[in-house]
């Protein structure tokens, strides 16, 4: 089974959104999954950071400035693994003096995740 979440959020000047995935249906992985994240920003100056189950998958990483809903595979950000019930958290920071839009898409594909 594959599930997808996709949305966009405005991030104010010099502000941080601690979790853009918050309140989404699959904010917590519904099953053990291999995930993929895609993202774009409306202009240069956004950084994104992915945490899954409290583990940092990426440090704050520059987001491309393609200003569109993410295309696969062009706007690939990172892959990750998630166990059932783990929280997916994407923190976005705007390092500029102007408000920007962050576009994101996360797909979760059911997988056998080996632990330990």
């Amino acid at each position: 089974m594959i599930v997808t979440m996709q949305s966009s959020v405005s991030v104010g000047a010099n502000a941080t959104n601690s979790n853009v995935v918050s309140t989404q249906r699959y904010e917590r992985a519904p099953f053990a999954a291999k995930g993929s994240m895609f993202s774009t920003g409306s202009a240069a100056g956004l950084t994104a950071e992915l945490n899954v189950g409290g583990n940092s998958v990426t440090p704050p990483t520059i987001v491309n400035a393609n200003n569109r809903v993410p295309l696969i595979p062009d706007d690939f950000f990172t892959e990750f693994e998630a166990l059932a019930g783990q929280l997916i958290q994407v923190t976005v920071a705007n390092t500029t003096a102007g408000a920007l839009t962050f576009f994101w898409k996360i797909t979760l594909e059911e997988a056998d995740v080996v632990v330990g």
């Binding site: 405005s10 000047a13 987001v63 400035a65």
Partner: protein, 146 residues
């Protein structure tokens, strides 16, 4: 120096200024905003200009997204989000004066978007009712609008 010599020298300076202003220069023009980019814009694509904007040279000029509600930053003014317009750029020849008048503020010269955000916020206040209600005229009398 006599008055006539001074007047002649001044006239000569003025002629030189006019000649310099009417001299044509090459530039790339954003087909959406009309702003000009330097002549090496395409040559320097991905290194000097357009970093993060993909492989094809397009305009890095900003446009306002009025469909999103204005959002406030931390201790900064509220504004609609902005984004790169990605419009086509065309090679043109314009006078130096015209170029200077409509030169785009480049990302490399304004990486934190301080100058560009100020310009875009000014435009939003001029063109968006939501922003006009948030910012009384007297507060933003000094906002640059282009």
């Amino acid at each position: 120096m006599s008055d006539s010599l001074k007047a002649a020298a001044m006239a000569d300076e003025e002629r030189k200024d006019r000649a310099a202003a009417s001299k044509k220069v090459r530039a790339f023009r954003c087909s959406r905003t009309g702003l000009y980019f330097p002549a090496d814009y395409v040559e320097g694509w991905g290194t000097k200009y357009g970093i993060g904007l993909g492989p094809t040279p397009v305009s890095e000029a900003l446009v306002n997204n009025y469909q999103s509600v204005p959002i406030a930053g931390e201790g900064t003014d509220a504004m609609h989000p902005v984004g790169n317009c990605h419009a086509q750029v065309d090679l043109v020849e314009v006078t130096q004066a015209e170029y200077n008048e409509n030169a785009a503020v480049l990302v490399r010269d304004d990486p934190r978007m301080v100058r560009r955000a100020s310009i875009m916020r000014g435009r939003q206040i001029a063109h968006s009712r939501t922003m006009q209600s948030m910012y009384p005229k007297e507060v933003n009398a000094g906002s640059p609008v282009r």
